[in-house]
Assembly symmetry: C2
Homo-oligomer: 112 residues x 2
DNA sequence: ATTAAATGCATAATTATTTTATGTATATAT
DNA sequence: ATATATACATAAAATAATTATGCATTTAAT
């Protein structure tokens, strides 16, 4: 991804959430959308993206539909039902992560 | 660490921030403090902790002082000046990460 | 018309980080 | 006497991401 190592481990969450919003997307589209939303802050590399998409697919979280646009291929990815459940789990994990890190980093916060 | 992969890449930030608060700490103390503060949410393993401490030391961010307590060794780690600067950088990165992830995950937020 | 840049997929080698497993030893509680 | 906690450490394996390639089509620029 970029700059901060904190993004390590976040890619699946990002992909799942984008697909949760946009119904179906193809790989390149995901990289562009992320760049756009984050104002260039975060750049998803293809070397990270494609293996991650394939893994999510293997785990049954994504379905694929190959579409030929002109003479070029696009592989549209779409959440499965299990993928939607996984998205919810991942988002909960993100909230929990943020909460925990805030507590660690900002001593005036506390977990109850 | 534990459960969520999101913690990958966060260990140095956690160590630095704890040392920033507590002046000097030894490894085992760090694991216990983290467990305590996070109510058991996060468990730092020794296999991750010690290499990370050594690396921070090699990078000049930490100084070490070995203390013999009874018959047992403790290695107290302490931020160097550069380590304090690194802490500030890492905390800024964490804030940036959280902001960016919020934007990605919660479409009603925007970066300006 | 030609070239460069953007679009679109993919994988392989390398690097970095973490987990899991293991090792050693002392101190304390049961 | 034994188990648990304290305290360090490293090595093998797993995981994930970066960097480097590779191939091909389409669009924009010169």
């Amino acid at each position: 991804m970029k700059k901060s190592e904190l993004y390590k481990g976040s890619l699946a969450t990002i992909i799942l959430k984008l697909l949760n919003e946009h119904d179906k997307m193809y790989g390149y589209e995901i990289t562009q959308r992320v760049k756009e939303i984050t104002k260039g802050e975060l750049h998803i590399t293809e070397g990270a993206l494609y293996p991650s998409l394939h893994k999510l697919q293997d785990n049954g979280f994504l379905d694929v539909e190959v579409v030929k646009t002109g003479n070029r291929l696009r592989k549209y990815y779409k959440l499965t039902e299990e993928g939607t459940r996984e998205t919810i789990r991942k988002l909960a994990e993100l909230e929990s992560y943020i909460k925990t890190m805030r507590v660690l980093v900002n001593p005036k916060y506390r977990l109850q």
